[in-house]
């Protein structure tokens, strides 16, 4: 597509429920990234995909967080047993390759609120 698309744009969930966040990157972009942005804070790296593999999962905060990517396209970030501290905007970005010479194209994010 023309840009990175994320869905849903907003999600309110009860504490303890599972949520799935979806990212559709730009077609042909092999690198895909998930970041988290808490209110008033910077972007916190979660995970990086090159193709369908995730060579760097170092930012996932706990084993409640997982992500997958299929068809070198769509990625899903899953948060199990959500907690209030999970409330944040979850941003997805893609770039043409995993090299550092490219800027990232971000989606508009999913605003997750855990009540």
């Amino acid at each position: 597509g023309a840009g990175v698309s994320q869905s849903p744009s907003n999600k309110v969930t009860e504490k303890g429920k599972d949520v799935e966040l979806r990212c559709d990157p730009i077609s042909g972009h092999t690198a895909l990234y998930w970041y988290r942005q808490r209110l008033g804070q910077g972007l916190e790296f979660l995970i990086y995909f090159q193709g369908n593999s995730a060579p760097d999962k170092s930012g996932l905060p706990s084993d409640r967080f997982s992500a997958e990517r299929t068809g070198e396209s769509v990625s899903t970030l899953t948060i199990q047993r959500t907690q209030q501290e999970d409330s944040a905007v979850y941003l997805c970005a893609s770039s043409p390759s995993g090299g550092q010479g490219y800027g990232y194209t971000f989606g508009s994010g999913t605003r997750l609120t855990v009540v």
Partner: protein, 112 residues
Amino acid sequence: SQKIEQNSEALNIQEGKTATLTCNYTNYSPAYLQWYRQDPGRGPVFLLLIRENEKEKRKERLKVTFDTTLKQSLFHITASQPADSATYLCALDADTGNQFYFGTGTSLTVIP
């Protein structure tokens, strides 16, 4: 661990003036540095990338410098306009090469 610092206070300038934003970093030597613009409720938008062997990069009214000795990047917007009002983020590549680390951003308001 890596640390990135941007102007913590919001920056207000008069329309037509040059805005200068600062990004300082410690504890490592990035090969790439990027600047992004972020508007409320939106994802960051890529503006410029500069490599460690480049001292300066320009794009239209934007100019970025990268001083690896001072461990600092300056981001300039010349002839600023109210439409330039946004939060500007700097980002540096991680040692692993797998991601960029982002600063917390500087809020810029251009007053008509």
